[in-house]
């Protein structure tokens, strides 16, 4: 049994050794995303964003004199598969750093593997608070958890003169986390909380929930879900004659897709978002944003995908910057270097701060949050 117990360090050593030799040609970055199953659309966007980053870096000569190679694997929107894919990327493909895994339950399933093989991962989309608070020092997140979003929103609730709000949230970690963090923030501001209605991921008919909200005495509804359900909600709310102010959160809204699919029903809705592809000059890094959007369009992808794909772009640039800073493609060195990087991401500076129990903190960067409004089928920036 001592032999068996000794296997983990042996594997880690092997990973380091082979990672080193394989690195003679390229520097590998593992990408663990949902390409089939329920989250296929989003995972594909993120991967396409990641490819733009890799191509851009390689066109400029790569890092440490080598080209970046993305090893992309499909986690099938399934936590068991996400863990298996992480295992494959680390042990078979010998990647020294990963990016993934879109959804929070997918990321949470990968996390024990990161501990096992002592390999760092850049988390690009997941929002669950648990990811950075349970004491996994191999996790570095660039997306905002809902508490960060709520804190950013705190600055403008006075201007919006909110009195009482209802919530309509997707019944998963993202929706639940948002309702919890936003309620807490709003209660502090003296805003009362009315209904908290949920919808299943994949549900298509929210008329029942919306009818209930229509009859409540609140004036605003906070909605948290992915773009497809948002579109349906706007359409169905319009059909029910729901005349309340709708504010969406989460940053995956794809306002362009909403405008295209929900039409006039989207007018007057407000959205908390983390990336402004409509106003490249107002982003923290206009040059990179312009490059990214031009490249995205050049490759024939739908503009609406930008608000998801930029996460893949930033994620790969973060991982690459850490490899460069580490000076070698080794997990331990990259992990250490991730604490020292400071790059200009598309939605703010990517600098990791410590989060979670002392001694085994995870990294969390603080992206910017913006409020936009859709008016006459166009996106307008509200100043925060």
């Amino acid at each position: 049994m001592t032999r068996a117990l000794g296997l983990v360090p042996v594997f880690a050593l092997a990973t380091a050794l082979f990672g080193g030799t394989a690195g003679a040609q390229t520097i590998k970055i593992g990408v663990n995303e949902p390409l089939t199953g329920a989250f296929a659309a989003s995972g594909t966007y993120v991967v396409n964003g990641a490819k733009i980053a890799a191509d851009e870096i390689n066109a400029k000569g790569g890092i440490l004199g080598k080209k970046i190679e993305l090893v992309i694997e499909d986690n099938k929107s399934n936590p068991t598969e996400a863990a298996a894919v992480a295992e494959k990327l680390i042990t078979s493909d010998k990647v020294p750093v990963l990016m993934g895994a879109w959804g929070s339950s997918l990321t949470l399933a990968v996390m024990p593997k990161l501990m096992e093989y002592e390999t760092p991962m850049v988390v690009e989309t997941s929002s669950s608070g648990k990811i950075t608070t349970t004491g996994n020092p191999f996790v570095f997140r660039i997306s905002p958890p809902s508490a960060v979003e709520a804190a950013a929103f705190k600055g403008i609730v006075d201007k919006l003169a909110l009195k009482k709000v209802d919530f309509l949230i997707i019944n998963n970690d993202w929706g639940r986390g948002t309702a919890e963090d936003f309620s807490k923030m709003m209660k502090d501001k003296g805003i009362s909380i009315g209904l908290v209605e949920t919808m299943d991921q994949g549900a298509q008919d929210m008329s029942a929930q919306l009818s209930k909200i229509k009859s409540s005495d609140s004036e605003t509804v906070i909605v948290t879900t992915a773009v497809d359900q948002l579109t349906l909600i706007f359409k169905q709310a319009a059909a029910l004659g729901l005349k309340k102010r709708i504010i969406t959160t989460g940053g995956s809204q794809n306002p362009d897709q909403i405008i295209a699919q929900a039409g006039a029903a989207a007018n007057g809705t407000m959205h908390l978002t983390t990336f402004l592809p409509w106003f490249p000059d107002k982003t923290p890094n206009p040059e990179a944003t312009n490059y990214f959007i031009t490249e995205w369009k050049k490759r024939g992808f739908e503009f609406a995908g930008c608000t998801e794909s930029f996460r893949g772009y930033d994620g790969i640039r973060t991982a690459a910057a850490a490899v460069e800073k580490a000076g070698k493609a080794e997990p331990a060195a990259i992990k250490a270097a991730l604490w020292d990087i400071n790059i200009k991401g598309l939605n703010g500076d990517i600098v990791f701060r410590k989060s979670g129990p002392e001694g085994k903190e995870s990294g969390q960067s603080q992206p910017n949050v913006y409020l936009i409004e859709i008016n006459d089928g166009k996106v307008e920036l509200k100043t925060l």
Binding site: T36, E197, V227, L232, G241
Partner: protein
């Protein structure tokens, strides 16, 4: 009170679509004894046909509906001829598993061809809803309700007033005897599966524009359809229609007055209760042994 009225209107609109989903499945289930796992994929297929005809070919919305029905009929007949006919006489589990295989392959095929990003279809109906006092409802949903009612009526007449329908009913009662009496059972099976499939495709074509169109859209629809079929009793079209409205009512009231988190549980709780107290479904005519 106005909230309750709105829930009732929602129930009517939703119930009509559920009924449409249920009747196609109940025919196949009842007559062929096949647990048709491709029902949801055929629903998705109908919706994508709508997308192709209206959005990509730019043709008329109302023209696209019959195209989707016909395409569903053809795909259904193809599935029956290639996958089910060779396995005639196999037990229900084997055919069910073949249908599961077809479901997995076809759904992934949809994802491969069109990608996972949801599509929507423009409709000729006004966006402003019809407002009647405290309740409002969209014109598109009213059209869907009317179209569903018409399709259900046509199916009902087909089963009860035509010679094909008589042969189908005879096969449902006892396929051996029907065969002895000169009914071409193979032909009946293919027709049944094709008709059931075209109804699924019609449901998708009608609901695709109401909702959004994506590869997994059929999964939830199929689960609802199974629930409706059981509520109404296998092979019972009237039962499926009533089952559709009962499910819609339970969901509306469940979400409105109990908890939206348990909205989708309502249907299942009803099913469990129905089967415990009335094991042949609420409106079963004759339960076949096996």
């Amino acid at each position: 009170m106005s909230e309750f009225l709105q829930h009732l209107v929602n129930m009517l609109v939703l119930g009509g679509t559920y009924a449409l989903l249920g009747i196609g499945l109940t025919l196949i289930f009842g007559i062929m004894n096949v647990v048709n796992f491709t029902h949801g994929v055929l629903y998705t297929f109908g919706a994508y046909i709508m997308f192709i005809v209206v959005q990509q070919l730019g043709l008329n919305f109302f023209l696209a509906l019959p195209v989707a029905v016909l395409a569903g009929w053809l795909l259904g007949a193809t599935i029956e001829l290639t996958l089910l006919r060779p396995l005639r006489g196999s037990d229900i589990d084997t055919t069910m598993l073949v249908m599961i295989g077809a479901w997995i392959a076809m759904q992934s095929g949809t994802l491969w061809i069109w990608g996972g990003v949801a599509k929507s279809v423009a409709t000729p109906f006004p966006e402003a809803p019809l407002v009647l006092g405290p309740v409002s409802v969209s014109w598109l949903r009213l059209f869907v309700l009317a179209a569903a009612a018409m399709l259900i009526l046509v199916t009902y007449l087909l089963i009860n007033k035509t010679s094909l329908g008589r042969a189908m009913r005879a096969t449902f009662q006892d396929h051996d005897t029907a065969s002895l009496m000169g009914v071409n059972v193979d032909m009946i099976y293919t027709s049944t599966f094709a008709i059931g499939s075209s109804l699924a495709a019609a449901a998708g074509a009608l609901l695709g524009p109401v909702y959004v169109i994506f590869p997994q859209m059929g999964d939830l629809a199929a689960v609802k359809a199974f629930a409706i079929v059981i509520l109404g009793g296998l092979g019972n079209i009237t039962g499926a229609v009533i089952g559709g409205f009962i499910l819609a009512l339970a969901e509306e009231l469940g979400a409105g007055y109990v908890s939206s988190g348990y909205r989708d549980a309502m249907g299942f709780v009803i099913i469990i209760a129905v089967l415990i107290f009335r094991p042949t479904g609420l409106f079963a005519r004759a339960e076949r042994v096996g």
